[in-house]
Symmetry: C2
Subunit: 196 residues, 2 copies
């Protein structure tokens, strides 16, 4: 099972992190990002959005880090990370959407500009970031994990760009419940350190 | 089972549309949006993002239209709209993320500015829209439905802001496979017309 991967990408790291935590073996294929390999065939045929990560498992191909987490957890991760009951799945999907929308357009975008020089709206991304982190902090004041009362793919989807937020110029110091959740996640068996 | 709803919201319409197609009964509670009821308790306690839709089913509360679709389909919709196997679920989640991220920040944002006067970046939203629609059009050239070879909550999540795109100043005429998919969806038994 192959993951088309970029080392510094938080979206790719979501998948590598979850695979490490759930002890799922992946063949990592580094994508030649600087030459734009993800924007051309054969990769652009696998993911017409021209993005990584892409997961290829035999004839099955999935794009989108959130969808890849669902596939891996549901197929190889047992019920611990993605339960079979729809209440638990919906509880998790709330946070998958939060990762794909709110986190992507705040913490992730700020990092893309500051660390990699992307031409995106850094002030708008920074303006959204405190709201995203405050919401997380309030939730984590009363919950050890984002969903279903235990570690799940919800945490794997949201943690990366939160933990990497300082690389986008976002200060995590005001959010002490977020800091404790980060420490809890980083203490899980199998934890894979975030990209440097 | 109560849906906190705003008539003109495409995100709320996703839920009402799916409930109509799957014959699930919802008690609709209109939110007093102009007075900001969604930003204050008790609604802001149910959804700290300060947004609608919110679904309340007994003691269970879900925010985020995508998560609500998963909950309703998984709990009351049978396996037709949200299958039990993780490959099908991941196939659908690719499009739920596409709805939460790409569609939200292009077609939906353009409509929020043009129809409701939101202070958002209309030129950026319009610049992203052709890429979103071209990707959909290419996919729908070879697929009748977005995922799993049949109508699913993927279609219910993506259709609303595509069908409403002209209200944001986006021309759908160049995308003939999208137009045929729209017609197929609107011909499904139980279809609920989009907001006017």
């Amino acid at each position: 099972m192959k993951l088309y991967d970029l080392d510094g990408s938080g979206n790719c790291y979501k998948v590598r992190l979850f695979a490490a935590l759930a002890n799922i073996e992946l063949e990592i294929e580094a994508v030649d990002f600087l030459s734009g390999a993800h924007k051309k065939p054969p990769l652009a045929d696998l993911n017409p959005l021209g993005q990584v990560p892409i997961l290829q498992d035999g004839s099955r191909v999935f794009r989108d880090s959130q969808a890849i987490l669902v596939y891996l957890a549901g197929t190889y991760g047992g019920l611990a990370w993605w339960p079979a009951h729809p209440q638990g799945q919906a509880d998790i999907v709330q946070w998958l959407s939060f990762a794909a929308n709110e986190v992507q357009h705040s913490l992730c975008t700020a990092r893309l500009v500051q660390k990699f020089g992307y031409d995106l709206d850094q002030p708008a991304a920074l303006a959204k970031s405190p709201g995203v982190l405050s919401l997380l902090d309030k939730h984590l004041e009363h919950h050890d994990w984002l969903a279903i009362g235990r570690p799940s793919i919800a945490d794997c989807a949201v943690y990366p760009y939160v933990a990497l937020a300082p690389e986008g110029g976002v200060d995590l110091a005001p959010y002490r419940h977020v800091a404790r959740w980060i420490a809890r996640l980083e203490a899980l068996p199998g934890y894979l350190p975030k990209p440097r």
